[in-house]
């Protein structure tokens, strides 16, 4: 499979405080990569660097061999190709659900309105929210909002999807409905980079696990390798923290 995304020697610092140091990663088409690690280890910053929401101090991010970060000014075409879903959904509160979904394809990609609304309806139907298309975000539960946010990213036909702790703000019983949507996307063969704290989900969805700590990728492997035969002590300790004995 061809490489979609390549990250080379990525270095990111906030006001001299290093957050990411020499991070390297290659993502192949159709691959689901899950990034886990303790809070503050740089996972979210890593995702944000990939689609240019953060500037970087060294290294580069390539999408199909085209450099997109370091710090290119106009990232609009990049943003179309890289979809991102955030922890806090960030739907546009003044727009109805279907308008939330249809806004970017119409304004950014200049697609025909009727086509966009048709596809938006189909996608909303797929995540079970067609009935809510004329509601406002405030009228939806957290899980529903997050499913809309996923649809809003999908309709742009991105080549890769980034998920930044998309279930972290949800009530436990709403986590499943969101994760199932992501799981079904994985089965479709979509390329995804997922940051999560849901270990069981990581196990189920990942082709590859990256464990980050202190701004480095500390361990990397298939889910079986990583969860059954954890190599590093740091990762072992991290995984133990999820167990109650």
């Amino acid at each position: 499979m061809e490489d979609i995304l390549k990250i080379e020697h990525l270095h990111k610092a906030f006001d001299g405080f290093t957050v990411l140091e020499d991070v390297n990663l290659t993502v192949k088409k159709g691959e689901v990569t899950v990034v886990i690690g303790p809070s503050g280890c740089g996972k979210s910053t890593f995702l944000r660097c990939i689609n240019g929401l953060e500037d970087i101090q060294d290294g580069r991010v390539l999408l199909h061999d085209e450099v997109i970060n370091p710090n290119k000014k106009d990232l609009r075409s990049t943003h179309e190709k890289i979809g991102m879903v955030f922890q806090s959904y960030d739907l546009f509160p003044h727009k109805t659900i279907i308008d939330n979904v249809a806004l970017a394809p119409i304004k950014v990609q200049k697609r025909k309105k009727e086509d966009v609304y048709k596809e938006a309806s189909e996608l909303l139907d797929r995540v079970g929210l067609l009935a809510k298309k004329d509601s406002f975000p405030r009228q939806l539960s957290g899980g529903q909002k997050q499913r809309v946010a996923i649809v809003r990213a999908l309709i742009m036909h991105p080549e890769i999807l980034l998920f930044d702790e998309v279930t972290a703000a949800l009530d436990p019983e709403m986590v499943r409905e969101v994760l199932e949507v992501i799981l079904s996307l994985a089965k479709e063969g979509r390329t995804m980079l997922i940051v999560t704290h849901e270990m069981d989900f990581a196990k189920a969805v990942a082709d590859r696990i990256l464990f980050m700590d202190g701004g480095h990728i500390v361990e990397e492997g298939s889910p079986e390798e990583f969860f059954e035969n954890t190599k590093t002590d740091r990762a072992k300790r991290f995984l133990d923290s999820f167990k109650y004995k």
């Binding site: 609009r76 991102m84 003044h94 970017a104 946010a149």
Partner: protein
């Protein structure tokens, strides 16, 4: 109560009412224009201009309209600029209102969370698209209550126009009291005409507020 006097004063009040509304709303329109432009300059922190706007806002928010009107009405002619009392009223109200509107709009713009801008950026929207489709509509919704309050406040401020010999409601009432000593009747008419001027604004304002706020706030 002298009803005969009331009836005979009515045409004068009506005339003053029309004039007050005319100057009042023209001034408010000017205030909106100044306020929006000023808020944009402050929000985007445009060099030099934003300093000028800040000084303007502080100057006009911290001085009474009456004083501002005196400066415009008696000051400008001394600099060789002739100005009618009607233009002076409009300008004064516009400048005072502009300083209030600027801060109201700006607070609305600043209330939009950065995550809104980020999620729109992640969808590939340009800065101007984000401003037009994401920031502006939400900022307007957030500021609408304060904007309507400003409009009502400014309409009431027209009552100092009498000081620059504009024949507004207050001027007419004072004039008639001075001439005929029917104080009760004149003041009653004054109150009634102010209510007639402001009640519809309040009512309409509530309707607009309800409609505009429905999407985001639902109340």
């Amino acid at each position: 109560m002298n009803t005969e006097a009331i009836v005979s004063y009515l045409p004068l009040y009506k005339e003053a009412f029309v004039l007050t509304i005319k100057i009042g709303w023209l001034g408010i329109a000017l205030a909106f224009a100044i306020g929006i432009v000023s808020a944009f300059i402050l929000y985007f922190n445009i060099p030099v201009l934003s300093k000028v706007i800040k000084a303007y806002v502080e100057l006009f928010r911290n001085t009474p309209l009456l004083v501002q009107l005196f400066f415009i009405y008696f000051g400008l002619p001394k600099m060789g600029i002739d100005i009618s009392s009607q233009v002076c009223g409009c300008l004064g109200l516009g400048l005072l209102g502009g300083s209030y509107m600027a801060e109201t709009f700006r607070s609305g713009l600043c209330a939009i969370a950065n995550t809104q801008i980020e999620s729109a950026t992640a969808l590939g929207m340009s800065k101007s698209q984000i401003f037009i489709h994401i920031i502006l509509p939400q900022a307007f919704t957030i500021s609408i209550t304060a904007l309507i309050a400003n409009v009502i406040f400014l309409l009431k401020e027209t009552s100092v126009f009498s000081a620059i010999s504009l024949m507004d409601l207050m001027f007419t009432a004072k004039d008639l009291i001075g001439l005929y000593y029917n104080t009760t009747e004149c003041l009653l008419l004054l109150v009634l005409f102010y209510i007639l001027m402001l009640l519809p604004v309040s009512f309409l304002g509530n309707l607009i507020e309800k409609k505009v706020r429905f999407g985001i706030f639902g109340d």
